[in-house]
Amino acid sequence: MSALTDDLPLLTVDRLGKNYGSRIGCRDVSFELYAGEVLAVVGESGSGKSTLLSLLSTQLQPTAGAIRYRMRDGSVRDVFELSQAERRFLMRTDWGFVHQDAAQGLRMAVSAGANVGERLMAVGDRHYGNIRHAALDWLGRVEIEADRIDDAPRSFSGGMRQRLQIARNLVTNPRLVFMDEPTGGLDVSVQARLLDLLRGLVADLGLSVIIVTHDLAVARLLSHRIMVMRQGRVIETGLTDQVLDDPREPYTQLLVSSVLQV
């Protein structure tokens, strides 16, 4: 990557807000995300972190503010001013979205191979051999045995489904991946394996990631920076280890001190 583009943010979020009628979803959120950065958004349920993720991934329309994204050709575009086709293309190639519930991000009735290959076909790859080869390669990278390629994810364990969802997202070489509680609902041993896998992939591929989690251990392991949300606002932000080891806001101190030590 050239030094020039390295110094430009990939994503710029400017005073973003969303109201649901008179209720505030989130308010006045501003930040920049650079290539290769992992940003964790933490807070309790109702803090606005899920609303924020829906806005960032353009699944929700904001009531205030703007999101600018640096496209692959270097142009900076307001994501809400893209045409439907342009936005769909972004979601299918340059962006990924890993849902907490893998069933939301996968097609449960088609094979694992097809789940991975489908994203390639959506961007125009038509060569069956190439697609199957890419699918096999990605199944391997997320530690799914090659002989499961023709099985549907319905027959997979929770951890395997999640790994398949990650493969499906990464096969198109996205630059930005959104993750919504990617380890939520999994057994701790399965979580550890997934976290370790994610850590390796994110570093190797130089991905930019915005990960929403209520689990501070996940934030510590995966993210460079952290944003603490409460009642729809960002109340504290900084280096992940600094915010977790030297929290300043009363609410952040409460969050950090509420983690059970083992």
Binding site: H224, L239, D245, D246, P250
Partner: protein
């Protein structure tokens, strides 16, 4: 913009820190105030003073792990000088990668990663090629007397002393021009203390600036070029 003096690679000026404990009714916990000190290349400066004086907190502030309430923490980073007290997170991360090595008191273990790879990863992060990183890791683990049968195991189940030596290897494997050492010899036996003293000597000869905490007097006398007593920086609460 402030500049560090010519030969000092680390300079603290008028640094102040306190904690406010909101969960304890906003209790104010003073740590240090008016800290000014410099460390030059090739020098080992030891922070002195009793437990609770703020030595460890000070190292954490230099590493950007704790916030600095006031003052500046200037670190030479190649041709640039970075003020850790006031820089953006991603600049501090870059500084840690290129310039600041840190041996903390406790190893933060990563599930599933072997001891050898935990150490080698630290060199790879610095920019050392994979093969060379693995070679360096093996050499360091040998120097620090970690039995070879443990190298392929994740350090989570290791003894305190073994984990501490993994941590030391992680800190020493790269070529960071500045090393911060938070009691690296606290839980080591005499042979391993001696090994760490040798590692420190090698770093000094290479022109690395070291700032450390050593409670063990033998080690302290052996490695310290200067001792800075930090009780002089007591925070007038």
């Amino acid at each position: 913009m402030a500049h560090a003096s010519k030969d000092s690679v680390l300079r603290l000026a008028d640094v102040r820190k306190s904690f406010v404990m909101h969960l304890q009714g906003g209790a104010h916990l003073p740590v240090v105030a008016g800290v000014s000190l410099e460390v030059a290349a090739g020098e080992c400066v030891v922070l002195g003073g009793p437990s609770g004086a703020g030595k460890s907190s000070l190292l954490k502030m230099i590493y950007g792990n704790y916030r600095c309430d006031q003052g500046s923490i200037l670190v030479r980073d190649g041709a640039e000088t970075v003020d850790v007290a006031n820089e953006a997170p991603r600049r501090i991360l870059r500084l840690r990668k290129s310039t600041l090595g840190y041996v903390s008191q406790f190893l933060r273990v990563i599930p599933r990663v072997s001891a050898l790879d935990v150490v080698a990863a630290s060199a790879r992060d610095y920019g050392v090629a994979s093969d060379e990183a693995a070679d360096r890791a093996a050499a360091l683990l040998r120097t620090l007397n970690i039995p070879e049968r443990l190298w392929s195991l994740p350090p989570a189940t290791f003894s305190g002393g073994e984990q501490q030596r993994i941590n030391i290897a992680r800190g020493f494997i790269a070529d960071h021009p500045i090393l911060l050492l938070d009691e690296p010899t606290a839980s080591l036996d005499a042979a391993n203390r001696a090994a760490v003293i040798d590692l420190i000597d090698v770093k000094k000869k290479k022109g690395v600036a070291l700032l450390g905490i050593f409670h063990d007097e033998d080690v302290r006398d052996r490695v310290a070029d200067r001792i800075v007593d930090i009780t002089q920086f007591r925070h007038a609460a």
